[in-house]
C-alpha cells in the first residue's frame, strides 16, 4: 500500500465514508485490549466532534435552539454534504444557511435564515477594520458632486434579506426563550461591527436595496432611487444615508 493509498483508506475510515478501500485490520495495528477498528474509531469520533464544535461556535443560537440531540445529526449530515475544504476551520460552516434552506427542518422553515444571520455575525467579527467617515463629509460634498458621488461601505457590514424575521428569533433566544417560535415575513437585517462588538438591526427592505446598490458602486442618485416609493423619497434617502454615516457604515465618499 503506498502512502497515498494508506491515507485514502485512513481518511475513509476516520470520516466514516460510505466506501471503504480497506478494513482497519488490513493496514492498522491493534492490540487485544484495543483492536485497530476501535482505535480508528477514536479518530472518527473526534472528527465529528471537532466539526460539530466549529459549527456550534459560529451558530450558538441555532445550536441552542436545536439542542445537542438535533444539532449533532445536523452537523453530521452537513459534514457529509460539505466536508471542510479550507485549512481554516472557521470557514467550515459557511454553507450551513444554504444547506438548511435546501433541506429545511420539517417542523420549521426559518432555520436557514437564523443561520444566515449568525454566519453574517461570524463573518463581520473577523473583517478588515476601516475608519468610518463623519456626517460632515456628505455636507461638504455639494450639490454638483453629489450626482456622481459613490459610497464606499466598510468591509464589516452585511445586509441580509430574509424570508423570516430571524432577528426577532435571535433576540428571543438571547433573552432566554429556548424554543423561540418562527416569525414569518420578509425582513432585512444589517449586521456590522463597532470596535470589537458585532451588532445587528432590522432595516427596511428599500433601505437594504439602497445599501446593495451602494455596495455595487453605483452613484448616489441611484442609491437614493431605492426610496422612490416612500411618501417623501428625498427626505427618506437623506435620513437613511445620514444614519449610515452615524452608524459608521461608510468608509469613504468618492467623487465620481
Amino acid at each position: 500500500m503506498t502512502l497515498a493509498e494508506t491515507q485514502a483508506s485512513f481518511h475513509a475510515l476516520a470520516t466514516r465514508a460510505d466506501f471503504l478501500p480497506a478494513a482497519a485490520e488490513d493496514f492498522l495495528l491493534g492490540s487485544p485490549e484495543l483492536p485497530a477498528e476501535e482505535r480508528i474509531g477514536i479518530y472518527a469520533d473526534m472528527y465529528l466532534w471537532r466539526l460539530a464544535d466549529a459549527l456550534r461556535e459560529d451558530y450558538p443560537k441555532l445550536a441552542g435552539l436545536l439542542g445537542d440531540e438535533r444539532f449533532l445529526p445536523l452537523a453530521e449530515a452537513y459534514a457529509r454534504e460539505h466536508p471542510s475544504d479550507r485549512p481554516d476551520l472557521g470557514q467550515f460552516g459557511r454553507h450551513l444557511p444554504t444547506f438548511l434552506r435546501r433541506f429545511p427542518a420539517p417542523e420549521r422553515a426559518d432555520l436557514g435564515d437564523l443561520a444566515a444571520l449568525e454566519w453574517a455575525r461570524a463573518e463581520v467579527f473577523f473583517e478588515e477594520p476601516a475608519t468610518p467617515i463623519a456626517r460632515d463629509a456628505l455636507v461638504a460634498l455639494g450639490p454638483d458632486a453629489f450626482l456622481a458621488a459613490r459610497l464606499d461601505l466598510v468591509p464589516a457590514l452585511r445586509i441580509l434579506v430574509l424570508d423570516n424575521d430571524a432577528a426577532a428569533v435571535w433576540r428571543r433566544l438571547e433573552e432566554g426563550d429556548p424554543g423561540a417560535a418562527p416569525v414569518a415575513g420578509a425582513t432585512a437585517v444589517a449586521v456590522w461591527r463597532a470596535g470589537f462588538e458585532v451588532l445587528h438591526a432590522p432595516v427596511g427592505l428599500d433601505e437594504a436595496r439602497a445599501l446593495e446598490i451602494a455596495r455595487a458602486g453605483e452613484p448616489l442618485p441611484n442609491v437614493c432611487a431605492a426610496f422612490q416609493h416612500r411618501e417623501d423619497p428625498v427626505r427618506a434617502a437623506f435620513a437613511a444615508v445620514a444614519s449610515w454615516l452615524d452608524e459608521g457604515w461608510i468608509a469613504a465618499i468618492s467623487r465620481g
Binding site: L3, F27, S84, F196
Partner: protein, 283 residues
C-alpha cells in the same frame, strides 16, 4: 546544516478566554504561542490582541493545518497567508505538527499519524524543505499523540522524527505529554523515545494534560500537567539543557493565573534540574 535553539523562557498559549486581560496588561509570562490559523483573518479582536501582545512579549506561531505529511499538494495559498502573518508578527519561530490532516482537498482539522516508512520520510522531507523555502526560515515540527500505528511502519516514531529533522534541516518541537500519551497507547518506552531525540534539534517543549479513557489516553489538553509528564520533563531538561517551554491548554481553559502558575512550575523545575550542572561548571 544546523539548528540554533533560541532561549526565550517559559510561555503559555494565547487563548480567547484571556484576551481582555492581554488588552489591559502585558502577559505575565516570558512569551506566548499563537495558533497561526486563528490570526490569519484581516481584522477583528484576535488580530488586535495579537498586535498588542507582540509589542509586550515575544510571540511564536504554532500551526495546525499545514498537513505536512499529506499526499495532497501543499496549499500555496495557506503558505502565503502564513508567510504574510509571519511578516506582520515577526515570531521567534514557526511550528506545526509532524502529521497529516487533509486528503482529496478535504480537511479533517485533526492531527493524523503517518506510517513511519522511507516513502513517507522522503515525502515529508521534500515538503518541509519547500515550506522553509517559502517562509525563508527553519520551522519546528511537533510529535503528535496517536492512537493507532501502521502495519507498514519500518522504523520507530522517534527515529522518523529525528530523521525528518536531520534530512530537512528543521527543528523539533518536543511535546512531552504527547510522548507520554503515545507511549501508553502503543506500549513503547517513553524514556527510550526521549533518549533518541537529537538534542541539537529541539527548539521548544510543549507540556500539557490529557484524559484517561481507561483503555487509552486521549490528548485533550484540558487538564493540568500530570505528575508523570512533569517527571518526563525533568528527564528531558536534564538531557537537553534549557529549552523554551510552553504550557498548552486547548479546552476547559482555566484562569490566566493557573496557566502562569504552571509555567512558573516548569521554570522552577528547569532551574532545579540544571542548578547542579551550573554549579559544576563554576571554577
Amino acid at each position: 546544516m544546523a539548528f540554533t535553539r533560541k532561549l526565550i523562557g517559559h510561555g503559555i498559549g494565547l487563548r480567547t478566554k484571556h484576551f481582555a486581560r492581554y488588552l489591559a496588561e502585558p502577559p505575565p509570562v516570558d512569551w506566548v504561542e499563537a495558533v497561526s490559523e486563528n490570526f490569519m483573518a484581516p481584522g477583528g479582536r484576535p488580530v488586535a490582541v495579537l498586535e498588542k501582545v507582540r509589542r509586550d512579549v515575544p510571540v511564536v506561531l504554532h500551526g495546525v493545518s499545514l498537513s505536512i505529511g499529506s499526499t495532497d499538494p501543499l496549499s500555496e495559498s495557506y503558505l502565503g497567508e502564513l508567510a504574510e502573518l509571519a511578516g506582520r508578527v515577526e515570531p521567534a519561530w514557526i511550528s506545526d505538527h509532524l502529521c497529516w490532516g487533509s486528503h482529496g482537498g478535504r480537511y479533517a482539522h485533526d492531527l493524523w499519524p503517518l506510517p513511519y516508512t522511507e516513502e513517507a520520510l522522503r515525502h515529508v522531507v521534500a515538503r518541509v524543505q519547500r515550506v522553509q523555502e517559502v517562509l525563508g526560515r527553519q520551522i519546528l515540527l511537533e510529535n503528535i499523540s496517536s492512537y493507532v500505528a501502521f502495519r507498514a511502519s519500518e522504523m520507530e516514531e522517534w527515529e522518523f522524527l529525528a530523521e525528518v529533522a536531520r534530512r530537512a534541516d528543521c527543528g523539533i518541537l518536543l511535546d512531552v505529554n504527547n510522548v507520554y500519551v503515545s507511549a501508553r497507547n502503543h506500549g513503547f518506552d517513553p524514556h527510550a523515545y526521549l533518549a533518541a531525540i537529537p538534542a541539537d534539534r529541539v527548539g521548544q517543549i510543549h507540556l500539557a494534560g490529557h484524559s484517561d479513557r481507561g483503555r487509552y489516553l486521549l490528548d485533550t489538553h484540558d487538564h493540568e500537567v500530570p505528575a508523570p509528564v512533569w517527571d518526563l520533563y525533568r528527564e528531558t531538561v536534564l538531557r537537553l539543557g534549557p529549552v523554551s517551554t510552553l504550557i498548552e491548554w486547548d479546552d476547559h481553559i482555566p484562569p490566566l493565573e493557573s496557566l502562569v502558575e504552571e509555567s512558573r512550575q516548569a521554570a522552577a523545575i528547569e532551574a532545579e534540574v540544571l542548578a547542579p550542572r551550573l554549579r559544576r561548571a563554576m571554577p
